[in-house]
């Protein structure tokens, strides 16, 4: 049970933390990758987030809130990774082509490149809201809780982020020459 593992890990039980890391690690890494859009940066962010989780676990007052708290630390690590990496240049690196995309959706995801570019134009703040809501399927109230920001701010960020993504999709129909300046 997660809470038991959290409590044990809070008191320094490395085995309990390992179980938490195994059960949550995939999801944390997936979120980091979707926010940062770069495998190496995502690995660094996930690794740092897991270490921060271990380091700060004793300060978590409510073990039942572990998951939300863990995502908060992950997003912070993504911010830090984005700031740290001078090489973090939006629009240069795409996801490997062999990564899974549901076949049934392939017809609507007609230009992943455009989506990628549109997403990379967003700030980490906006990306985090999009990923937590549209990938993790968290209600906006929980997104606000995870990010520790007002609900209105979440709504605003999501609105502007999705408007940017929609603009990116619309740009797909324009001449390629207009899409060079990344």
């Amino acid at each position: 049970m997660d809470i038991d593992h959290v409590v044990r890990a809070q008191s320094g039980d490395e085995e309990a933390f390992a179980l938490l890391a195994v059960s949550h690690g995939d999801r944390l890494h997936a979120v980091a990758h979707r926010i940062l859009r770069d495998l190496e940066l995502a690995e660094d962010a996930t690794q740092q987030a897991l270490l921060n989780i271990w380091r700060d676990l004793p300060k978590l007052r409510d073990p039942a809130r572990f998951e939300a708290w863990a995502y908060r630390l992950l997003v912070r690590a993504c911010y830090a990774e984005g700031r740290r990496s001078q090489s973090w240049k939006p629009g240069l690196r795409l996801l490997p082509a062999d990564e899974p995309v549901r076949d049934s959706e392939m017809d609507v995801v007609h230009d992943r490149d455009q989506l990628e570019r549109g997403f990379r134009r967003l700030s980490i703040d906006h990306r985090a809201v999009v990923v937590l809501h549209h990938y993790l399927d968290l209600p906006l109230e929980r997104v606000a809780d995870v990010l520790d920001i007002p609900l209105g701010t979440v709504r605003s960020r999501l609105y502007y982020a999705m408007r940017g993504m929609r603009a990116a999709l619309d740009a797909d129909a324009r001449p390629a020459a207009r899409e060079v300046a990344q």
């Binding site: 990758h33 700060d56 740290r84 959706e105 989506l115 999705m162 929609r166």
Partner: protein, 295 residues
Amino acid sequence: MSGSDRSTDRIVRAWLEGGVTQLPDRLLDGVLDQLPATRQRQPFRLARRFSHMSSSLRYSLAAAAAVVVIGGGAYLFAGGNVGAPASTASPTPTEIATPTPTPDHPADLLPEADVPLEPGTYFVSQELGAGVARVIMTVPDGWTSHESWYVYREPILSAGNGVSFGPQQPIKLVHPDPCTSTSVVVGDSVDDLVTALIDTPMHDGVDPIDIGVSGYAGKEVHISSDAAIDVETCSGAHVSPWFGRWVLPGTEQTLWILDVEGNRLVIDATAEPGADATQRAELRQVLESIQIEFS
């Protein structure tokens, strides 16, 4: 929500399904391997205890701290700008003239958020061995805290003109070449780390300087990353003097590596290539203001 909005949501959701879904085993193993060396941070009991003390008790403790500093024979060296020591000659130690904090201005724990700091005396708590080291520093106007961890003037790694100051997490792996991920394991002593650092091309060639802070002995070492490094050619596109630390090409770091009750404490004063003389002078000023308490 319009049909267009719903369509965009659906497309974005489908697109987000692509991407990695598994944490690599090597990454998980790497994290778990580091747990024994990564001390958990307890809630800030020291900070609370300190803040609830009466003024008279604070005064007594501050006075006692001053006695420890002077009685312990602690000394600092007058230094030049970060990363640009003027001489390789053995410096003459000078005693600390103005121990801080003063009774009227007890140290405050650095705020957790990135917020501008009022000029004053602050501390960072760092788990160290079986105890906690409190690094107390006096910060001038214009500095900002970062997550109760370090202070900076201009964000580091953004415009390349920042300076930052704070204790480092335990350093276990030093990169002989900051542009590669190859690393050497360093032992736990001050000399182990100093030796590892001066063996790298980052070291400026100046002999490490003996220092003492609050009675704790150590070394001052200067390293810098080559300004000509093209980070795009580096492993992970990072310039990294040691595992877990990234810097820009041309960054200069003054490290105070101290033995605190048998535990190694590293204080890192970093100046990015665009930092001006005022920032560097302030950085040195913050560095030289520090005191250390261990309990």
